[in-house]
């Protein structure tokens, strides 16, 4: 496990993602990218999907990337990574590469992952490429101006699910992408948040050690999209975790484990209240909406607790075997 100091040192020695990009203040993306890249020991090739990250970090002729980086389109990052990984395997097999093993990392938004890129992701997971797929989940299509995605939470107002005389924000609940990924029986999948950087860093280390695909779904704050103050990004990320809205867990060979347990969860309303996308919930008839969000969060949490309990023995046996 790398300490904050070690991560900072690595960043100084080999800057993999530099400043000067145009991501907003308070945006969760740069924290995710830096933590992920700094937590990977060896060389990296990064692949991005179209979205805020790609647009804000590679305006020709500039780039924020210190590692080899490629972007092809919006919906195909996992397929592009498959090709890079296949190239790596082939060239290594034919003796055309030397040096340390290269880690291939994808960074894609929720739109590029939950929605338009889901097929490419599913195919790549099924084929078992050795790569890490990081979804930075800001819960909407931010780059095109805050449209709803399959990751947008119930009742959230976006520019395509606006609140109006009839509309009450997004009418559907979030897609459980992590569960979909887990159903591919990959060696490692996890959820993380920028608020818990060490948890994220450890998960990256575990993920890239796998001989196969791994997946991280990381909640990413977005001041313009969520309607919060830039300076509240870190606090919001933390509240999402502490309210159990965004549980931190990992799934190792199909076995679930909560990696952070908010024993005394903060009230969900505290998380909701800080974001303008939920402002309409303060209205008179919104009690039912709020309780629907509450119900969704509670049932997801209970499901996770149940799975964690089921997997307890498996983790214990694994740990005692490795002693």
């Amino acid at each position: 496990m790398a300490s904050l100091k070690q991560l900072a040192l690595r960043e100084e020695e080999r800057p993999r993602f530099t400043g000067g990009h145009s991501l907003c203040a308070g945006c969760g993306i740069p924290t995710i990218v830096r933590t992920v890249l700094d937590s990977i020991p060896g060389p990296v090739v990064a692949v991005s999907a179209t979205g805020c990250l790609e647009v804000a970090t590679t305006r020709f002729p500039f780039t924020a990337w210190g590692v080899p980086w490629i972007h092809v389109a919006f919906e195909n990052a996992a397929a592009v990574a498959s090709g890079v990984e296949a190239a790596y395997r082939s060239l290594a097999h034919r003796g055309k590469l030397s040096g340390e093993r290269v880690t291939i990392v994808v960074f894609a938004g929720d739109g590029g992952t939950y929605d338009i890129g889901l097929q490419a992701l599913s195919g790549a997971l099924e084929r078992g490429h050795r790569f890490l797929y990081v979804c930075y989940d800001n819960e909407a299509y931010m780059n095109t101006g805050i449209q709803r995605s399959g990751a947008t939470p119930f009742a959230a107002s976006t520019t395509t699910s606006p609140v109006g005389s009839v509309g009450r924000g997004k009418a559907e609940t979030r897609k459980d992408l992590t569960a979909i990924v887990v159903a591919h029986h990959i060696p490692y999948a996890a959820q993380a948040s920028t608020s818990h950087w060490q948890d994220l860093s450890v998960k990256v280390e575990r993920a890239v050690a796998q001989d196969g695909p791994s997946f991280l779904n990381v909640l990413s704050t977005c001041p313009p999209g969520w309607g919060h103050d830039s300076r509240d990004g870190a606090r919001l990320a933390r509240l999402a975790v502490e309210s159990r809205y965004w549980p931190l867990f990992e799934v190792v060979d199909g076995h679930y484990r909560l990696t952070h347990y908010p024993a005394h969860p903060t009230a969900l309303v505290e998380w909701l209240e800080m974001q303008k996308r939920f402002a309409h919930l303060r209205g008179i008839q919104s009690v039912d909406l709020e309780s629907m969000i509450e119900r969704e969060v509670t049932s997801q949490w209970q499901e996770l607790e149940r799975r964690t309990a089921e997997s307890k023995v498996w983790f214990e046996e694994r740990e005692s075997a490795s002693v």
Binding site: A73, A79, G83, Y88, K96, R127
Partner: protein
Amino acid sequence: MARTMQGFEVLTGGEATAHAMRQIRPDVVPIYPITPQTPIIQTFSRFVADGKVDTVLLQVESEHSAMSAAVGAALAGARTMTATASQGLALMVEVLYIAAGLRAPVVMAVGNRALSAPINIHGDHSDGMLARDSGAVQVFAENAQEAYDLMVMAPRIAEHPAVLLPVLVGQDGFSVTHSAENVALLRDEEVQDFVGSYEIPYPLLGDRPSSQGLFAMPDAYYEIKVRQIQALEAAEQVFADVARAYALRFGRHLGAVESYRMDGAERAIVLIGSTAGTAKDVVDELRERGERVGLVAVRLFRPFPHQALEDALATVGRVAVLDRAAAPGTLPPLFADIRAGYHGTAELRSYVYGLGGRDTAPEDIAKVYRDLQLPAHAGIRYLGLLGEDQHGES
């Protein structure tokens, strides 16, 4: 499977293409099945399974991903080839444009087939025409031998430092992909030696980190695009050079266009692909009867060899351009291209034929030569359309 016949093998176009791929020994081949391309990837998969080639096969979940993986692999530093047809090419088109823009020299075999709807698995050139403005180099084969030869030539064209663009090698669905004929295969070492090693300026897996696929604003996009257009234009000379090198070594010359019995021809047909075979027989027959007819087959379609066509049609009086695809609402693609660049005196007429695999018999071709003796018709003629035949010569 193939039987050896005095240095030749009896192979379909699809099989011959798979042999070329085996001999080129690409590093990565992403694949997805679609008729009539499937025999190519099946034959190639069999070569891999039998240990005849050690390429990494990538069985992806769609053509969109096949092309995306191909771009990733090619820019990572791996020689990459793929194959598709019809709806598959349509699904790839988004990424094909990007491949050209990112200068990814992916070589693709295309078993040209009609586009839906109605769904139809048979040959025409609609899929190729959908890709014609992608920025990729496009060539079309007349038969299995040409499909093989062009495939062996393709990596050197795609990977040439002045080009660095995808190359699409088209062959007509069924009439070439599935039709067996004698094909002269080169020896494996000859092919290896001819294509050489894969070199691109900034492989992602090399030692110079680079960012590829950047976002360009109006201050830069235009210049990048014009350079890409110039690279495609440069491919005309590169194609000619590679064709000459191929001919010098292996004795078969595949020019940008092939003129068949055009000496002293008064009437000519210009077309693309397998129908050239039928047309050559008709030309022979008519020539025997003293008719001064000839044929021009276009192999290199992008970049379009305007000068070569100008030369080929320099002395002819009347020309029928036969398109196996339409461009609804305007003139068919081959006709439009020829007309746009042609400064000669010949009168050009437009025909569409063979859509969705409709047979084009020698009689249909003969009819076009007869038509050319009559006064010009207005607009586009649809050759072989049911109900047209009775009125066709009116």
